[in-house]
């Protein structure tokens, strides 16, 4: 249920980014919501469930954006592992670096992927522009906090089961009763 909820949410975020956040095809200020989800998964969810969510997310992004298939999957997975590694190894208290680290990792991973695609000659990309990428990284950081709240809400609701198993559970009759 949790995995499915986050897959649906991720796809919805990508759709919002490609439609409502893009008034023109050359619009710069479209926040990369998907990367915030990547960050959330790295910080809050276990590996297996995160990978199950990242796989369709990367695929959706590859379909709706860009001309190099697989590029977004690389971006999502490398971003996820970098953030996971960093959150495990950094000695500072988690909440202090969570959001800036998402922005920083977004810049680093984007640069690495751009370099990789460019050097392998898989497809022609628009030249790297640091200021544009910094703007996008800032947008990612700005939207991180509200989206983390949303993800927390979704996670809490998704973890609730539809059927109240605890109420339906058969109770043994040898329970300790309060003394009269």
């Amino acid at each position: 249920m949790l995995v499915l909820s986050f897959i649906i949410l991720g796809v919805l975020l990508v759709i919002v980014q490609t439609t409502l956040c893009m008034p023109t095809p050359v619009w710069l200020l479209a926040p990369d919501f998907y990367y915030i989800l990547v960050g959330y998964l790295a910080y809050r969810l276990d590996l297996v469930r995160s990978l199950l969510i990242l796989l369709p997310l990367g695929c959706t992004l590859d379909v709706l954006s860009g001309t190099v298939l697989g590029m977004y999957s690389i971006l999502c997975f490398s971003g996820y592992f970098l953030l996971r590694f960093a959150s495990d190894k950094l000695p500072v208290h988690e909440s202090l670096y969570q959001i800036p680290l998402i922005g920083m990792s977004y810049l680093v991973i984007s640069w690495c992927v751009h370099l990789l695609v460019h050097s392998l000659g898989i497809g022609e990309l628009i030249a790297w522009s640091t200021w544009k990428m910094v703007v996008r990284a800032i947008l990612v950081m700005v939207f991180s906090y509200p989206l983390f709240l949303l993800f927390d809400l979704v996670r809490r609701n998704a973890q609730r089961s539809f059927v109240p198993w605890t109420k339906l559970r058969l109770r043994a009759d040898n329970r300790r009763r309060p003394q009269e």
Partner: protein, 294 residues
């Protein structure tokens, strides 16, 4: 005893006085009545009465008016305020509805104008085309593509040219049964065979990722002027010949190299990209016709 007799006498005297006074008054009234009825004149008594009653009447009338004013100014206003509030609510709702209708009408007018231009363009080209609408845009900073709402089931094929009423937009990059991805001509991986309309010199139009094209492979020996129209060359039969692509906006003459560096401003306004036409590739449509014949 003596006291009793004195009291009796005085009460009798006062009774006589009252009777006398009443008689006098009655007589005077009678005289006044007879005199008034007889002469029908507004006498001095009448004037005296009116002078005496007038101020009181005036005062009472003013008081009544004040009460009326007070009622109309305060009590009625309170009622009016409530009425006005209701009216205000109703009018506000009406205004919102009217504004919404106006916006819808404006939108319909703009869409109508855009579609009319597109239809005119379609008729002028005389080639089978598929009308499509942009439903999504590439959000990345490294690519320039859009998703349209027509796919292979309607005849959209990979490589099909995509145009708007103003000129060339791009080429279909991938298709699914109901949707297709269009690589915009401003994308760096896009390359279109074009020619300068006036001099008929051919070159290669490449995207830069920004709202400007780069025209390559134009020899320095050729004189290129700013403002010259750039149109499709029609090589390979993908794009029909003569479709508007843009206007030469800058010619950079560098001492080194064989070719000019030319910037071309797109004919299409990429900021308002909405309704597009996908030109069906001729060989594909011919194949379909052949398939249908038996």
């Amino acid at each position: 005893m003596r006291k009793k007799t004195t009291r009796k006498r005085s009460s009798r005297f006062s009774l006589v006085r009252v009777v006398l006074l009443a008689g006098l008054l009655l007589t005077l009234s009678l005289i006044f009545l007879v005199a008034t009825l007889g002469s029908q004149k507004f006498g001095s008594l009448h004037r005296l009465v009116i002078e005496a009653v007038g101020p009181v009447q005036k005062l009472v009338a003013a008081g009544g008016a004040s009460i009326g004013n007070f009622k109309s100014e305060y009590l009625d206003i309170l009622q009016d305020v409530l009425k006005v509030r209701e009216e205000n609510k109703r009018l506000l709702k009406q205004l919102q509805e009217t504004e919404a209708t106006l916006n819808r009408s404006r939108e319909a007018l703009a869409t109508n104008a855009s579609l009319r231009r597109l239809l005119e363009f379609k008729n002028s080209l005389n080639r089978p085309m598929i009308a499509a609408t942009v439903i999504g845009k590439d959000p990345s900073v490294w690519f320039r593509s859009v998703i349209i709402d027509q796919g292979s089931s309607k005849g959209v094929a990979k490589g099909s040219p995509v145009v708007s009423a103003d000129g060339v937009v791009g080429q279909v990059f991938t298709t699914s049964p109901n949707y297709a991805k269009v690589l915009l001509a401003i994308a760096p991986s896009s390359a279109i065979d074009v020619m300068l309309q006036k001099s008929r010199i051919r070159g290669m139009l490449k995207g830069t990722g920004e709202l400007v094209y780069k025209l390559e492979y134009i020899l320095k020996t050729i004189e290129v002027e700013e403002g010259e129209q750039v149109v499709t060359a029609g090589y390979g039969g993908v794009f029909p010949t003569g479709l508007p692509v843009g206007v030469v906006s800058k010619v950079i003459k560098k001492p080194r190299g064989m070719f000019h560096e030319i910037e071309v401003t797109p004919a299409v306004d990429y900021q308002t990209l909405e309704h597009l036409l996908v030109i069906e590739q001729q060989d594909l449509s011919e194949l379909k016709q052949v398939e249908k014949k038996p």
